[in-house]
Subunit: 187 residues, 3 copies
């Protein structure tokens, strides 16, 4: 009766395997994103003479700084609020698909580094909802990773990582960031 | 020997099914909150004459702003720190059940929008612990969703979405936000 | 033919069990961290006379404050940007293993409380990557919990809780925080 070899023992082992697999799902997950997107956003900082075009402004600065010129010491302590257009390509004049809104602050005296807290806000036929970001931006590195800490609407409960790349930097007034978003938790 | 029909193949299929189910658990989750709560919080901004009652203060502003009057251009660039009472109903004078603490910043020149980073801090018999929030608040919309990015104590490791509604707005000194919190990850 | 006792019914039950286990994994999780770490970080605030040693600076303040002295009313409204060395022990002069970068803001008039948004940034053989934090810090309490809201590199997609303890506090210029990080989601 070979069929006896399909015993409870095997079932239990199988069951155990299934359970283990379930429990380990998160840990052994291959790092394959459930959603990938690439966007660009464009920041034009207010310098006292570009009120019309500016998309951001210095709102906090250290004792040695002011509100129209980024401070000495690698802008340490400058806090900038922004409402930047998001585009699908690297052209400032392309049709914006959303807005990047929030703040960055320069946080190191010796080199340029920043800390970011912001959202991508979409309200188009393509995307509705927001993606929320936070993290350190050592902006002299070619690529830097920050966290996707949450999302709403189309991006409900999203989590992931966004890789930032400085795509252009002109004087101290304009920069453009390429943002490669990879979501690893999608609902 | 019909028993041979309980073969390894079936076990493997079953095993595969179990694994797939485990892996898909998160994705097929119905969007049913594991915890829902409604709170109100009340913000009285310092205007130079209400030091005693004020629960918030402008601490950063653009070049064209100051610390006692919200700036022109839809308050773009104003950064406000707050410690606001949380109540269970919409009455400012109800017994506070906690404090909403953190900041908001106005981040658009053309209309009122804000970005929020704050916590609900509870220390009562009812709730102990904190809920941390971040996200964009396009405050002219009737409802806006921000992210619950974490929690501690009773709200250990919480994630979810909070829907904000402006419940009252009086001049530029007082506003009240209704906050519908829905947690989708509870530990 | 006893082998018939290995029927579909049992398989289905088993399958159901596996599925249930998978679905419940998150909720029944014991609160056992997948990673625990202890670090110290050291904050020396700029006071107008310590430019060389300072690791942080006041960049926002309420109307009654300034940029070199923490404001009255328990520093309510002071916003501080920092780039603090992280060490493995409580010695400021130990070899830093990373930098704590971000901001804190004092947010209560009656007692000292703060709100924190920052990252631990590592770039050594030991650790590469960042851990992102946010949360309320009622700093008069012996221990306070904030959220680990994300991570990158070695800390890819991390979530957890960090317990802060004030390990030293000297005048209003230096403080040292012990940070016990417990991650409950590791990838």
């Amino acid at each position: 009766m070979k069929a006896k070899r399909c015993p409870l023992a095997i079932l239990l082992i199988l069951s155990f395997l299934s359970i283990s697999t379930a429990a380990a799902t998160r840990k052994t997950q291959t790092r394959k994103p459930c959603k990938s997107m690439v966007f660009y956003f464009h920041d034009i900082i207010y310098n006292g003479r570009n009120a019309k075009n500016a998309t951001s402004a210095i709102v906090g600065s250290p004792q040695w700084g002011n509100k129209t010129i980024l401070a000495g010491q690698n802008h340490f302590g400058d806090l900038v609020v922004f409402d930047d257009p998001i585009t699908l390509d690297n052209n400032l004049h392309s049709n914006p698909v959303g807005r990047a809104q929030g703040f960055y602050l320069y946080d190191k005296k010796e080199i340029f580094t920043a800390w970011l807290g912001f959202s991508f806000v979409f309200n188009s036929t393509r995307h509705k909802g927001s993606i929320n970001f936070a993290g350190a931006d050592p902006l002299m590195n070619k690529t830097r990773d920050i966290s996707v800490i949450g999302g709403t609407g189309d991006f409900f409960m999203a989590r992931g990582v966004a890789t930032l790349m400085t795509d252009a930097f002109e004087g101290e007034v304009y920069f453009r960031l390429r943002t490669d978003i990879k979501l690893y938790e999608c609902w």
